[in-house]
């Protein structure tokens, strides 16, 4: 055999060449792993090569904003065709990269604030989208076929060795750095402060190559704060129905809540309405959840045993520190969040997901995708999907599984549980947009953006319940497509979908308990007032926390 000898460390050699270029470019500007922010362009130009796969840390909440801006300053003649892999496109810079010709391909999870612009760039051919993922799915691919060559991440502080303290918002950082550092990649971090000793080590220093003190603290969004003052009477009603008709019915102990006023209302009804039903200790003990301020009254009233979080929430720092029995905290006292692990926890260890959506069709497929926007769904699909790999049993899981299997034979006869996946929506959104539709906008969007499949957030076969102000449709009990359709029409109220229901069949489904109206579960609509909320204002939340919660100034009105 005279084939040339295979080189087995090409990636390591590439890494060494890049590091050598960086040392040469930075000269005295590089002290250990540290360099000045003015030198960031030199560094990035030295370590990046055209076509590199780059992870620019864009989280749900914290953003490596300084590095994002630095990346847009590069010369596209030298650095181009980057393949960006990142969970969230939150900043304008994330898309500027494509307009400037620095990057060309994108794999991501969520693009909420940039979704309209993303759609425009895609249709203009300036971005090639690999795929839209869930968070967990994208993190998984970091370890399979989307491993970054260079990662640009974000932390609170670093010591001289490059040990990182991420603060409460650890979020995606461990997943990104692990995938990059152990596959001969390069890890560059922006920090808010340089310290002699970090309060705790969230990322070990030998996984980190370069540290830059950013001129300004990184951007971070309080995404999970909902002002209780904006919760409507209708949302209170729906929360009462959820608690009595689903939480109590299944004895849901372990759960995840989507973001929104509907779920905030549920959280605020636990110490009042749910307490009055004698449910304390019977529901809602364990959570995979960002530290929602709206959960404070329930925590204070002793409802909550544990909360593990994807990320933190601005203003909750001192409260979390003071409640280490509930939250996951480090030896320094501050929260340790971790999106990858919390997503896994939410998927495998929770018995229920409840969240809102924009559109539901007659099969129960639901989507937040809107025309002219390419948004993705972040973590919702992992939360809102039955965990097919789950093998441990809990009463809630077993009951849902039994309802789905009742009276069925063949493959359905095997005892098995099912996750409760609840969609909670008002039949009309604002401006009288119906939440129920014959056909999801997702179909048209898929056609426009040349997607292979319509962007569905939660598939109908995963949805177990649809809850509206008109009632609860239990899809576990439906046995035919027609029953399922009428169950959905039956709670769709005065939307065109609802008005087209077969009244006789809907009444029949109601008799069977497939559809339950408020009065069927003993909820009196007249009791649904805001006075049931354990906190009616942000100020009440601060009071409930004993002054520990410090809401961002935009949420203050005192």
């Amino acid at each position: 055999m005279n084939a040339p000898e295979r080189v087995w460390n090409q990636q390591a050699q590439s890494r060494a060449r890049r590091l050598a270029r960086a040392v040469a470019a930075l000269g005295n500007g590089l002290r250990g792993k540290r360099l000045a922010p003015e030198d960031v362009t030199k560094l990035l130009t030295a370590v990046l090569e055209p076509g590199d796969r780059v992870c620019l840390e864009g989280n749900n909440q914290k953003q490596a904003d300084f590095l994002a801006r630095a990346l847009t300053q590069l010369d596209p003649a030298q650095v181009h065709d980057l393949h960006m892999v990142q969970s969230v496109l939150a900043l304008p810079e994330h898309l500027d990269l494509f307009e400037l010709g620095i990057a060309s391909k994108l794999d991501f999870s969520f693009s909420g604030p940039q979704s309209a612009r993303l759609a425009k760039l895609v249709s203009a051919g300036q971005i090639q989208i690999g795929a839209i993922h869930t968070y967990l799915e994208l993190f998984s691919r970091y370890f399979v076929d989307l491993t970054p060559r260079v990662s640009l991440v974000c932390a609170q502080s670093a010591d001289a060795h490059g040990n990182l303290y991420t603060g409460a918002n650890t979020e995606d950082t461990p997943a990104i750095v692990e995938a990059t550092a152990f596959k001969s990649g390069i890890v560059i971090v922006q920090v808010n402060e340089l310290v002699d000793a970090v309060p705790r080590v969230d990322i070990p220093g030998d996984w980190v190559d370069f540290v830059i003190l950013a001129p300004k603290p990184n951007l971070i969004e309080p995404l999970f704060t909902r002002d209780p003052a904006q919760i409507s009477e209708i949302q209170v009603l729906m929360a009462m129905m959820a608690i009595k008709g689903i939480y109590a019915e299944y004895g849901v102990q372990r759960l995840n809540h989507g973001i929104g006023f509907d779920t905030a209302a549920i959280e605020l009804l636990l110490p009042t309405y749910a307490e009055s039903l004698g449910l304390k200790g019977k529901i809602c003990k364990h959570w995979a959840l960002n530290p929602h301020p709206a959960l404070i009254p329930a925590i204070e009233a002793g409802w909550v045993e544990s909360v593990h979080s994807f990320g933190s929430e601005l203003g909750m720092e001192n409260y979390i520190k003071a409640r280490p029995d509930v939250f996951f905290t480090g030896a320094d006292g501050s929260m340790r969040s971790n999106r990858a692990l919390c997503q896994a926890a939410g998927h495998y260890a929770c018995d229920m997901f409840i969240g809102s959506t924009l559109q539901i069709d007659l099969n129960g497929h639901s989507s937040t995708a809107t025309l002219g926007r390419i948004a993705g769904f972040g973590g919702a699909p992992n939360m809102g999907a039955d965990a097919r790999g789950r093998r441990h049993a809990t009463p809630a899981w077993l009951k849902a599984g039994a309802q789905a299997r009742q009276g069925r034979s063949g493959v359905w006869a095997m005892p098995r549980g099912q996750k409760l996946v609840v969609q909670i929506v008002e039949t009309f959104r604002e401006h009288m947009q119906p939440a129920f539709v014959e056909k999801l906008d997702a179909w048209q969007l898929a056609e426009q953006a040349h997607m292979e499949i319509p962007p569905v957030m939660i598939y109908g076969d995963d949805v177990t319940h649809i809850l509206t102000e008109e009632g609860i449709a239990n899809l576990l009990l439906c046995r035919t497509d027609e029953e399922r359709e009428q169950a959905i029409r039956g709670v769709a109220g005065y939307t065109p979908v609802g008005l087209a229901r077969n009244k006789r069949m809907v009444e029949n489904l109601r008799d069977r308990g497939v559809i339950q109206r408020a009065e069927d579960i003993g909820v009196d609509k007249r009791d649904a007032t805001r006075s049931l909320l354990a906190a009616r204002t942000m100020r009440d939340l601060v009071r409930a926390s004993g002054g520990l919660y410090d809401p961002p100034k935009r949420f203050r009105n005192w």
Binding site: A229, S531, T537, R539, V542, K553, R554, R556, N557, W558
Partner: protein, 295 residues
């Protein structure tokens, strides 16, 4: 749980502020005295044009009362709305109640009928001052989410007494208006903490523009109002000179302050940064401890 003043409708505020079942409405909704102008502009009217007026008793004493509905057109004063208020003050001359109580929640002039509204605000002001000149106390209660701005902010300061909750706001121009005229550096209207410490009840209380600061609770407003019944401040040269001296001193003492925190610090508040999180009851102590410095 208390009955939130801010969350109650104007009608509910009146019903629970006065002695139970004592309220007698004048020109109630069934009379349909509505704005003649809104329909022309394609906007639905309200049967009471956004203000509830009438008579009742407070701790057994006869009062006249008005409450603006902040949810309807932001409490804006239009032709009918304003005329109802004018009528109430003129009626007071005839009935000599223990007070005229105004639950003010308004952005000022209702733009849809701007000219009528502007003149109406002026008419209300003159009628109010007329009632005061006849020894009838006028008490303003401010605690709605929409605050008390523009023309109603002027009218409020023509009254004998002002009672506010700490979520109530009293000012002239809305922060959004100032921001759009002079930029976000002048006044960041999205910085709610800044908005409240500039216009909110606590600042107004510390600086002396509000006489009683209460919790966001209808019962608290009720007891504050009861405490002020029958206390008329005469409108004469001496009281006007005193007011003038107070306002001149304020300008001298605080005219160079850039933030409420500066004013509070200079006024002797020990830790101004903590004021925001104090309860209304704790604010009283701040003020009684430093009566001289604080207006």
């Amino acid at each position: 749980m208390n009955r939130s003043f801010a969350e109650s409708t104007a009608r509910a505020r009146v019903a629970h502020l006065l002695d139970a079942d004592s309220f007698q409405e004048i020109l109630g909704p069934a009379e349909r005295v509505v704005s003649p102008h809104l329909a022309l502009l394609g906007v639905p009217s309200s049967f009471d044009d956004g203000v509830v007026i009438g008579s009742g008793t407070l701790a057994g004493q006869a009062v006249l009362i008005a409450a603006q509905e902040g949810e309807f057109m932001g409490g804006g004063v239009g032709e009918v709305h304003g005329a109802k208020l004018v009528g109430l003050f003129k009626r007071a001359l005839r009935l000599q109640p223990a007070a005229v109580i105004v639950l003010a929640e308004s952005g000022g002039v209702r733009l849809h009928e701007a000219n009528a509204g502007l003149i109406a605000v002026s008419e209300v002001m003159r009628a109010l001052l007329d009632a005061r000149a006849h020894g009838i106390p006028v008490i303003m209660l401010i605690g709605g989410d929409n605050g008390c701005f523009g023309g109603m902010g002027l009218i409020a300061r023509c009254a004998d007494h002002v009672v506010m909750s700490d979520i109530g706001r009293l000012a002239m121009s809305g922060p959004e208006v100032i921001e759009s005229s002079n930029g976000v550096e002048e006044f960041d209207s999205r910085d709610r903490a800044l908005v409240w410490r500039t216009t909110g009840g606590k600042h107004r209380f510390l600086i002396g523009d509000c006489d009683v600061l209460v919790e966001d609770d209808v019962a608290a407003f009720r007891s504050a109002a009861i405490g002020l019944l029958g206390q008329s401040i005469p409108l004469n040269l001496a009281t006007m000179e005193a007011e003038h001296a107070l306002l001149s001193d304020r300008l001298t003492q605080y005219g160079d302050c850039r933030d409420a925190l500066d004013i509070w610090r200079r006024a002797g508040v020990p830790d101004p940064a903590l004021v925001a999180d104090l309860e209304a009851s704790e604010m009283q102590a701040l003020k009684t401890r430093k009566p001289k410095e604080l207006a």
